[in-house]
């Protein structure tokens, strides 16, 4: 009984689930304080995501990039790296994909494949530099990746303005041949913008699982994350693994950017600030405890919340911002590990009673 309890206490799943519930509770308290009906609001929120085929399609579309950015953050975490640059790598992925889509003339399918690969490669290269600096010069990756985010954002803006369009604020829409959308799929989901990105995302999750737990490289990545000194002593190259980890992380983020651009928007617009999909990836990875399966489920939850937010405003007149509060509260509870603290309090009492 006691071991069971300890296991439960230490399980990241319990932490995540209870944190989600607590987060939603905080949101509910806020709504009550502001004079809204939380039950009606949450109803609208969750119902909306599954109301009609169109909504399911759009929810899946919202989830796809979150899975990929979540995996990107999660993989780097496994090697002990905090890749805040997922946002920037995501943008570079979008940029590389839109360049291939607009500037190259290839047959259908092949065009899309090349564009996706270009995005992945772009993301990986964008993450290579912070990885290299970390490995060789010991520069903290948080600093470099944050800076690289801004470089990516303004690089993309400049190229869209001066090269990819004639002084407009967005590029042309990409040709059909490079699109990740498939008419049959879209029609099955009420003409929503669902696209192949979800399959790319799920395949990437499988790949991450395989890489981390079934290959030598993955073993080394995890070992470096757990204890770089021991790994070094055991003959692993910490430097190489740090760079590899950043690049694979960037590759995932680039895939996210490419599939989002080729599937959802179909054009790249000038952005005044970051889209936030990369930053949401941090939250997703945290909630998903850096495991591929956990990240997929966390992305589903965040995707539903993101898509349902505006509907909550629509149906229950609750401001969308409440959803961001719920997000933040969930992250807070996971990060501060409030659940574990609570469990140890209650758990100990229960154990004492049974004695």
């Amino acid at each position: 009984m006691e071991t069971m309890q300890r296991r439960l206490r230490e399980s990241p799943v319990i932490t995540s689930v209870v944190s989600v519930l607590l987060g939603m509770l905080v949101g509910a308290i806020m709504m009550i304080a502001a004079g809204y009906n939380p039950i009606q609001a949450y109803q609208a929120l969750f119902m909306s995501a599954f109301l009609m085929p169109y909504d399911i399609g759009e929810t899946i579309r919202t989830i796809s990039p979150l899975i990929l950015t979540g995996l990107a953050v999660g993989l780097a975490f496994r090697t002990g790296l905090f890749n805040i640059g997922v946002e920037g790598q995501f943008i570079i992925g979008q940029l590389a994909a839109v360049i291939v889509a607009l500037k190259m003339d290839l047959p259908p399918v092949l065009h899309a494949v090349v564009a996706v690969l270009a995005g992945a490669l772009g993301g990986a290269l964008w993450a290579f530099l912070p990885g290299l600096l970390k490995a060789t010069r010991g520069v903290h990756e948080v600093i470099t990746t944050i800076m690289m985010n801004f470089i990516a954002l303004y690089l993309a803006n400049t190229l869209v303005r001066n090269w990819l369009s004639q002084g407009a604020d967005s590029t042309e829409t990409i040709p059909e041949s490079a699109s990740l959308r498939w008419d049959l799929l879209s029609q099955a989901f009420g003409n929503s913008r669902i696209h192949f990105g979800i399959f790319i995302a799920l395949a990437t999750a499988l790949f991450m699982y395989y890489l981390l737990w079934k290959t030598t490289l993955g073993f080394e990545l995890r070992a470096v994350g757990l204890n770089p000194h021991a790994s070094e002593y055991a003959g692993m190259s910490v430097k190489r693994n740090l760079i590899m980890s950043m690049m694979i992380s960037g590759l995932f983020a680039g895939l996210g950017g490419a599939s989002e651009l080729l599937g959802t928007s179909g054009y790249l617009a000038i952005h005044g600030s970051h889209t936030g999909i990369g930053f949401d990836g941090i939250a997703v990875a945290l909630l998903g405890a850096n495991s591929p399966l956990g990240i997929v489920f966390a992305a589903v939850l965040f995707g539903v919340l993101t898509y349902g937010g505006p509907v909550m405003q629509f149906e229950a007149n609750v401001p969308t911002e409440v959803i961001r509060v719920v997000f933040a509260a969930i992250i807070f509870f996971v990060a501060a590990n409030v659940v574990r603290w609570m469990m140890s309090k209650f758990g100990n009492k229960a154990v004492k009673k049974s004695d």
């Binding site: 399980s11 799943v13 969750f46 599954f50 405003q313």
Partner: protein
């Protein structure tokens, strides 16, 4: 199966339960029998942007009062939200769905194709001339109103330096810029116009720093066409000496933001345009589908705010009226692009 996996299954089941329990909630609604209903989707600026989203919503509120319309709005947080938001209103079969801002120029045609029986309106863009039959496009001759702002700024500057802050570089904002420049040139050929773009419509801090730089550089009057970014201009001008530094607002009367520092505002009557189209739809069953409705000084759609006379002396006001008449009569053709501006003699 590992414990972890079971736990996640539990999380999933909980979510399904939560949604399942909620079944049977009221859906749709929003239509009052035989009445008129309209929906408005904002761009990423949000409903309280003190700019065209807010003005458009004012037109909707007028429709509620005078046409007894059922109105509702949806805010877009990201560009990706435009499609689902427009779709939500279309599914409710509202009489008309508005997309406010030129950023809707890709979403509106796409959704209009999916809902051929739904009527849409887009503000600030003519969709490159290819307007579907179920869409009306409302555009403004911003250059004409900006010209008058240029006349005010050119006549009132003491340093012969005036500034312009734009949002995201685009043909639309360029109309403001060149109209303004032409107005300054007409009223005061010596004056120099400094131009800066924030490349954003919501970055208030950027607006403030751009404004601070210009004022420090000797500029004494700044006109903005930058949506929410413009709030930064007002934040900055408020901290400066009264009667010496001025701001000129845009889209709606912004003098409330800095009453002692606001010379004028270029009021873009998005509200009137939006209301008039809906009124015509309800009362005369007429919808200018497939057409571009272009409004200028002649229609009193781009005018100086009523509060302008508070700080602007009478002789300048007279000048403004003269220029206005000349533009309405077609004597002056106000430039709206760089090319036209280069040809413009002043």
């Amino acid at each position: 199966m590992s414990k972890k996996a079971w736990g996640i299954m539990f999380l999933c089941a909980m979510l399904v339960l939560a949604t399942g329990c909620a079944a049977g909630g009221n859906q749709g609604g929003g239509e009052n029998e035989g009445g008129f209903s309209a929906g408005l989707v904002t761009d990423t600026g949000g409903i309280n942007d003190e700019s065209f989203n807010e003005t458009a919503w004012a037109g909707m509120k007028k429709a509620k009062k005078e046409l007894d319309a059922d109105i509702k709005y949806l805010e877009s947080k990201r560009d990706d939200d435009y499609n689902p938001n427009l779709t939500k209103f279309s599914r409710e079969k509202r009489n008309i769905v508005w997309g406010v801002g030129f950023k809707f120029n890709k979403a509106i045609p796409e959704i209009a194709k999916q809902f051929p029986d739904q009527k849409f309106g887009i503000v600030d863009d003519n969709l490159g001339g290819k307007i579907p039959d179920n869409v009306v496009s409302v555009t403004f001759k911003e250059e004409e109103g900006s010209f008058l702002m240029g006349v005010i700024a050119g006549s009132m500057t003491k340093t012969d330096k005036v500034g312009f802050i734009g949002g995201i570089t685009s043909p639309l904002i360029k109309k403001f810029e060149y109209g303004f420049r032409a107005g300054v040139k007409a009223a005061n050929p010596k004056a120099k116009v400094t131009v800066a773009y924030a490349e954003s419509f919501k970055d208030v801090a950027k607006g403030r720093s751009l404004a601070a730089n210009m004022y420090n550089d000797g500029t004494d009057i700044i006109f903005h066409a930058a949506g929410g970014v413009g709030k930064g201009l007002f934040d900055e001008v408020k901290t400066r000496e009264k009667g010496k530094y001025w701001a000129i607002g845009v889209d709606m009367d912004q003098s409330g933001l800095a009453p002692d520092h606001t010379l004028s505002s270029l009021v873009k009557r998005v509200d009137v345009a939006v209301f008039d189209i809906m009124k015509d739809m309800k009362e005369n069953d007429k919808f200018p589908g497939g057409k571009e409705v272009e409004l200028g000084l002649k229609e009193d759609a781009v005018v100086p705010a009523k509060t302008t006379s508070k700080h602007v002396p009478e002789n300048v006001m007279k000048k403004v009226d003269e220029y206005k008449q000349k533009i309405v009569d077609g004597e002056i053709k106000v430039p709206s692009t760089e090319k036209e501006f280069k040809k413009y003699k002043g």
